[in-house]
């Protein structure tokens, strides 16, 4: 199978370390190129490009072999480097179809795809595009001849559309945008949004050779036209050379809008039209912070003035990292002159920034309370509708909060809930009515999803604590504290091992509270875990989120504790409210995470003798990594205790499917 080898050649050289987690789709550019190539002989593979685009950084690239067969059966000669529609396997196809209707677990792509597929009128006058959007051509299979003509452009448009669409949706660049067809990026660069990225040179080179179709040539022209604008960007080369998208004449208005609203992805998506409802189900793509232009732009608009940290770890450059301590005084000084932000939101933002409010429940509640205050003080400006204006307002608050600290998954759900409620407000409601409804909705959310859920969890979890147990807990989770206290009140005789870790040392505060209630505790650091594990009988862990594949996303170190416990054959119980369950699937801790202040791991307070890392930032060879979260594979989790009862990690999707949806719409 020459074709297989060839395709591997395309694929393999790419994944250098840099691209591991978040650069999965090498697909889009290659695919664009591929479409014309295939259209020469017969195009059926190109119909998969939408699905290809929907490959998100966190999704597993589909198996290669299927497409290999495909290509060979198509009679593509092997000397042509087989483009990467390759990774599309037939199995994937249904998901393409689904993508149009239901949001899949994956992040960004489905959102952008939704946007594209549902808004054919969004400014594409390109014939290929309209063809594609209007027909189900993508999913047609087996009559290549018929569809062939539409494909060269069709395949493109999807990518183009998608990539163009992303800036529309938000400024949070997705991976696919980074690698998007350059013609398009050129077009956007023209509008000021510079999305170009220097990468995958090899791919591009090979791409050039293949340019054949009319569509591509035209795209190239346009790309060259736009190259002037794009040349400012360091990725201009990409744009000029690779070309290949017909959508360079993408409607500028949208792009502008996106810039205006940058950072508030939610808002823009909300205003976009009928597809917004569905889109809201999909989590918002995160901004990739290794994209310099976008970061620059985001910074210009940012309320919080942050300085980028230096010497960031290569693998984690896509995550935001700032010099800590620089922004707080600045923000504080502007407390009284900050026009657009409601003071309560501002306060919460500052609390996030300083770390006074932490823990996903606490942050979520604080945010909702702040929003409630803001809604109470809100008055609809003349000639505006409450539904739309308030949504925009909330979105701007959210983007401010994101600047202070990236959203937790719980907050994301709460925000979606709130926006949903706003969107669902009857038009006949007066302003006061609407505000009262929203406030009571917020209260109900806090009550049902957090407070009552915690009570239910405590009720379930206590049944697992027996006399004589030794419980190991890690970090500081409020629900686990409640469980321990409740079990203690019930008179269970048990001992608690509080495991803690630098730099946050959250366990100390928890330890103090537990001891003051009369619990028998042992305090140790995570270094001693394997020693202390001998005497433990049960491990209780909190979670920031539980993902659809049963993976637990939690405070860094949790995975370590769970693995050691598993090695000791101890049951690992995860306590997590169901509203923190998430439809995403994540396999590693890289693609989505949060970086803390690297200084805190460099300095040990009170220990001058170990301060060997002074001025570490000046040494280019030294990078410090302070991760905030990690993921625990479901293999190490015995049970997840949630408000719906005790479930195995394999049942998380059921909860997400059965309950989340309906409650969101309630």
């Amino acid at each position: 199978m020459d074709s297989r080898r060839a395709s591997r050649m395309v694929i393999d050289p790419k994944p250098k370390v840099r691209q591991v987690g978040f650069f999965t789709p090498g697909a889009p550019p290659e695919r664009t190129k591929s479409s014309p190539a295939e259209s020469l002989s017969s195009p059926p593979t190109s119909d998969m490009s939408p699905a290809g685009n929907s490959l998100s950084p966190v999704m597993i690239p589909p198996p290669r072999h299927a497409s290999d067969n495909l290509s060979s059966s198509l009679g593509l000669n092997s000397s042509r480097v087989l483009p990467v529609p390759v990774p599309m396997s037939p199995i994937r196809r249904p998901s393409t179809g689904d993508n149009l209707n239901l949001p899949l677990g994956s992040y960004n792509p489905s959102e952008s795809l939704l946007g594209t597929s549902l808004s054919p009128s969004s400014g594409f006058d390109d014939e290929g595009l309209s063809e594609d959007t209007s027909t189900s051509g993508w999913f047609v299979r087996g009559n290549p001849g018929k569809v062939a003509s539409s494909f060269p452009s069709g395949g493109f448009d999807t990518t183009a559309m998608k990539s163009r669409n992303i800036p529309v949706v938000s400024n949070l660049t997705t991976v696919s945008v980074v690698k998007m067809p350059p013609g398009l990026s050129g077009g956007i660069a023209e509008k000021g949004g510079t999305l170009v990225e220097v990468q995958h040179e090899q791919v591009r080179d090979s791409k050039l050779k293949e340019k054949t179709s009319k569509a591509e040539r035209r795209a190239l022209q346009e790309a060259q036209r736009s190259a002037k604008a794009a040349s400012r960007a360091e990725g201009s080369k990409t744009a000029a050379t690779s070309g290949g998208v017909t959508a360079a004449n993408a409607k500028p208005a949208k792009a502008k809008a996106s810039q205006k609203k940058e950072g508030s992805s939610v808002a823009s998506s909300d205003r976009k039209g009928p597809e917004k409802d569905r889109k809201k189900d999909v989590p918002h793509p995160r901004m990739q912070f290794d994209d310099k232009q976008r970061v620059e732009k985001a910074k210009r608009r940012a309320v919080v003035k942050q300085t980028e940290a230096r010497n960031r770890v290569e693998l984690f450059r896509h995550l935001p990292q700032y010099e800590h301590g620089t922004q707080l005084p600045d923000l504080e000084s502007r407390f009284f002159q900050l026009e657009p932000m409601h003071p309560s939101v501002y306060k919460v933002g500052l609390q996030y920034l300083s770390g006074d409010t932490s823990g996903s429940n606490a942050r979520c509640i604080a945010m909702l309370q702040a929003f409630k205050e803001a809604i109470k003080d809100y008055t609809t400006p003349p000639e505006k509708a409450l539904g739309r204006d308030l949504t925009a307002k909330i979105s701007s608050y959210v983007s401010f909060l994101i600047e202070c600290r990236p959203l937790s998954i719980s907050m994301g759900y709460a925000i979606r809930f709130l926006k949903n409620r706003i969107a669902k407000l009857p038009l006949t409601f007066s302003e006061t009515e609407a505000k009262a409804t929203l406030c009571s909705d917020i209260d109900r959310f806090i009550n049902e999803k957090i407070i009552l859920a915690d009570k239910a969890i405590v009720k379930h979890a206590v049944t697992k604590i027996r006399d004589g147990d030794v419980l190991l807990i890690y970090g500081s989770s409020c629900v686990i504290e409640m469980i321990l206290l409740h079990a203690h009140e019930l008179g269970r005789q048990f001992r608690v091992v509080v495991v803690d870790s630098r730099p946050k040392l959250e366990g100390k505060a928890l330890l103090r509270r537990l001891v003051s209630k009369g619990l028998c505790c042992t305090y140790t650091h995570i270094n001693a875990l394997s020693y202390i594990m001998h005497e433990v009988t049960l491990v209780f862990l909190g979670a920031s989120s539980v993902l659809c594949n049963g993976t637990v996303y939690s405070r860094v170190g949790t995975a370590c504790v769970a693995m050691v416990a598993h090695a000791f054959r101890l049951p690992v119980l995860i306590c997590c409210e169901a509203y923190k369950f998430h439809e995403r699937v994540q396999l590693d801790s890289i693609c989505s995470n949060e970086l803390g202040d690297p200084d805190v791991i460099a300095k040990v307070p009170g220990r001058e003798d170990v301060d060997h890392l002074e001025n570490w930032a000046n040494n280019e060879n030294l990078q410090l990594l302070n991760l905030m979260y990690d993921v625990t594979p479901s293999d190490y989790v015995s049970m997840i205790i949630t408000d719906y009862g005790m479930i195995p990690p394999t049942s998380v999707p059921v909860i997400v499917r059965e309950y989340r949806r309906e409650h969101l719409w309630m």
């Binding site: 697992k464 049960l538 009862g645 195995p648 394999t650 049942s651 059921v654 059965e658």
Partner: protein
């Protein structure tokens, strides 16, 4: 071992086995006396009944079986017509007790514990003097709680009670009817459960046929009515297979199963319980029943199942569980000790010296990772689906 793959069996036309084979089991005797409300809570009533049903193969068991064959058919009709007298007598004398009722049903060997519980609860509805749904529900709740607390060790009893309560509180069909219609509907439904349980066994037997291929050797542990039904169906459809039965100490249920299988002309070999690993080489699959299927997808079954599953897992042999869906319970044991222990006296045949402890627990928990598939009347499920079904059923 030839033809390891089961797929060729699918090519053959399956004969439809006749339905009326199982009726014989109905015929065993029904004790006339009512059991006292749990006389000895230290011993698992569930396992006592099981021992009574398919207990030791002894001469007096044979005598009992003999008697059962010649049983008076009037007894059966009386049982069917139990409805009216029970209602009238207890209605007048106020002597009705759900536990007695349950025990009466429980003594029927073909009736699963869960079904007996449901029938007992149906009787509660029948005798109830409630005039509203709410009242009835409260009454039922009380009855099911007392049933559950009467024998906390029986998982299927709990599951059956929960299931029926769920049905009563959840059924939308009840809402637009008047109370009496709803009540009779509930009763009708409850009475059907006995039938459902039998039907579930047929379904499971049919489903499992694809997995039993000619020339295979099957290890079974304990006596399970479902597993027996599975093997019986396989034998009836002229499959050639061999069965290895564990002895199943202390109540020697394996002997009983071997006895049943020998009647069907299935080649059977008896093993002592400790010979499982020794024999695992020649085994193609393990078939076990279950006392309860728990939320994790694991099963709670007669002592010894866990170690068999472990050995089978270690030797890459599939472990199949046959269990009716009413055995699904909302329990989630984390480890072996994390269950209400079902105790059962064990007779070692010799006096136990003072100071020597005896492990009398009657069952163990097999975690889901050691199970291959579960055959249920809902279909052939992987262990992780159990929780999905439970969530849909109870939430």
């Amino acid at each position: 071992m030839w033809r390891r793959s089961a797929s060729f069996v699918l090519d053959k036309q399956r004969q439809q086995p006749d339905e009326s084979r199982t009726e014989r089991l109905d015929m065993s005797e029904r004790p006339e006396t009512l059991a006292n409300p749990n006389p000895n809570p230290g011993i698992s009533a569930y396992y006592e009944t099981r021992a009574a049903h398919h207990g030791v193969v002894t001469s007096d068991w044979l005598a009992q079986a003999q008697a059962a064959v010649t049983r008076d058919p009037a007894d059966l009709t009386l049982e069917k017509g139990l409805v009216a007298p029970a209602a009238s007598s207890s209605g007048s004398a106020k002597a009705f007790s759900v536990i007695d009722e349950f025990n009466r049903w429980r003594k029927q060997p073909d009736l699963a514990e869960a079904v007996a519980a449901i029938l007992a609860l149906t009787a509660v509805i029948r005798t109830s003097e409630a005039t509203t749904m709410m009242e009835l529900e409260i009454e039922l709740k009380k009855a099911s709680d007392s049933l559950k607390s009467w024998d906390t060790t029986s998982i299927s009893l709990t599951a059956g009670c929960d299931l029926f309560m769920r049905y009563v509180t959840r059924t939308s069909a009840l809402e637009y009817e008047d109370f009496n219609a709803a009540k009779s509907r509930l009763i009708e439904r409850g009475e059907k459960f006995g039938e459902i349980s039998r039907k579930a066994r047929r379904t499971i037997a049919m489903l499992s046929q694809d997995f039993i291929f000619d020339g295979c050797t099957i290890l079974v542990h304990g006596f399970s009515r479902v597993v027996l039904e599975v093997l019986k169906t396989a034998a009836q459809s002229n499959k050639l297979f061999r069965v290895l039965c564990t002895e199943g100490t202390p109540d020697r249920t394996g002997l009983r199963l071997a006895n049943e299988l020998a009647k069907l002309d299935v080649p059977v070999k008896l093993l002592i319980d400790s010979a499982v690993a020794y024999a695992m080489d020649e085994i193609d699959m393990v078939f076990v029943g279950a006392d309860g299927v728990v939320e994790s997808g694991g099963i709670i079954n007669m002592m010894g199942t866990y170690q068999i599953a472990l050995v089978a897992h270690g030797m890459n042999k599939p472990v199949y569980v046959a269990a009716e869906s009413y055995k699904f319970a909302r329990l989630y044991p984390l480890h072996q000790k994390d269950m209400a222990p079902a105790l059962r006296p064990i007779d070692f045949g010799v006096p136990i010296p003072k100071g020597v402890e005896v492990e009398t627990s009657a069952r163990d928990y097999t975690p889901p990772q050691y199970l291959t598939l579960l055959f249920t009347d809902l279909g052939v499920l992987t262990p992780s689906v159990v929780s999905d079904e439970l969530i849909q059923l109870y939430l």
